[in-house]
Subunit: 264 residues, 2 copies
């Protein structure tokens, strides 16, 4: 059973600076922890109710994974799980995983779909976008350093496991767009008043830029956009909605790229 | 300035049972309250900082609206606003609006798009769906009585004003689908493993059913679905994502209905 210091340590990881310092983040719930154990992610430790441990034929102590790595498994009681959980209804298990060190070296932006997020701030929106990115086969997500943080517990849980499958990189977006490998790569920007995404041709691969929830894409980034698109509104109200939710808009654009490959 | 009882009363409206009892709900923020005042909604009262009141050339007391109705305007100080606000960063103004009494009498489901939500539970998802419904010109949202509640403060704020433009009805879904006016109306259901939405024809009008976040569409409702569709996955991971977020899936289907009318 983990001591009081361990409980304090886990709770400290709810704050970004502590996650950064220790390079660890929290994943909760049966399904996500099962996926984590099957994944290539390094696992620091797992805290589980007895029932979870027994169901998997495990025992507290060092557990060997299919990938030959090990993690420390602790048995924990319900009230302790409540103290460390970020969920309204704590599940049976919580894990600490090591932050991945994704590299963009060797990735070919001309042969893959890259999602670029310019100050997307809301953790729920980021979680939904990561889930959609996984669904539509996005290879890499490039985030500005002032975007929501992908290992924030709210983001982790809302990705439903997709966090473990999509590679993400916090970078200076301008430097990335100006880097030599990006020459000639299509950069599609979702911008108010731009041509409708429906009838236009879209490249099969390239970068899709989504902007901040209220400000949209920043001016410096917009200069690098090679194709401006928007999702037209069919609103009937006397006043009109100003925009779609950014996660919805991004998902519709990803859907359109995939659809056009299939149906033209 | 509102007294302690009024502050208690406003806070009591954060609970569903009190909203129901008084038939009132809370709307916050400059943009949304401005839209509320311009809307057809009845307003009970508005609580605003001095700056908000002065900017609009108003004075505390009874305020006459463009629609000839009146509401009570109270001046309030920052600390009081913090006590009644549900927002992390309270804005300048909070209003109490009367629940609309939308009727489905006289609406023609054969000439309009209806979104039907079968136990969509998450307030954020409901808010996003209301916003997308407004964007794509959905006339009515029919919700099962056990769906998230549209006047929940989280839902209200995440709709970004669209709540004021889309009509919603909490009904027994089965009775609605079996009602005489529904005969021959297309009922499109988003179901795992169903044919891809991209190449198929979709009706221009009808009912689109979305199910619960984890269980999907319930069996009894599924029996009434006349066209089963799904959004195909292009995931490249070793394990696959099980589903898209329900608000994303619903929005993509609405987008597809509108796109097919334009580009076929």
């Amino acid at each position: 059973m983990p001591g009081i210091n361990k409980i304090k340590f886990i709770n400290s990881l709810k704050q970004k600076k502590n996650r950064k310092q220790h390079s660890l983040f929290i994943i909760e719930g049966e399904k996500m922890v099962d996926e984590l154990i099957d994944s290539h992610f390094d696992i620091h430790s797992v805290y589980a109710l007895k029932s979870w441990i027994i169901e998997r034929g495990l025992a507290p102590g060092k557990v060997l994974r299919a990938n030959a790595q090990k993690f420390a498994l602790y048995e924990i009681k319900g009230p302790e799980l409540e103290r460390i959980s970020s969920l309204a209804t704590p599940n049976k298990v919580l894990a600490l995983a090591r932050m991945p060190s994704c590299t963009i070296e060797g990735y070919n932006p001309a042969k893959s779909i890259t999602l670029m997020l310019d100050k997307v701030q809301d953790p729920g929106n980021l979680g939904t976008l990561i889930r959609s990115a996984d669904w539509f086969g996005v290879d890499n997500i490039i985030l500005s350093e002032d975007s929501a943080e992908a290992t924030n517990p709210k983001v982790v849980q809302s990705t439903m496991g997709s966090l473990l499958r999509v590679r993400f990189h916090y970078l200076d977006l301008l430097s990335f767009l100006k880097s030599p490998g990006m020459e000639g790569i299509p950069v599609i920007g979702a911008l108010t008043g731009a041509p409708s995404v429906y009838p236009v041709s879209l490249p099969e691969y390239g970068v899709i830029v989504l902007g901040n929830e209220s400000q949209g894409i920043s001016r410096e980034i917009e200069k690098h956009v090679t194709q401006r698109i928007s999702i037209p509104s069919f609103s009937k109200g006397s006043s009109s909605p100003q925009s779609l939710n950014v996660a919805v808009a991004g998902s519709i654009i990803l859907s359109e790229i995939r659809r056009k490959i299939i149906t033209g």
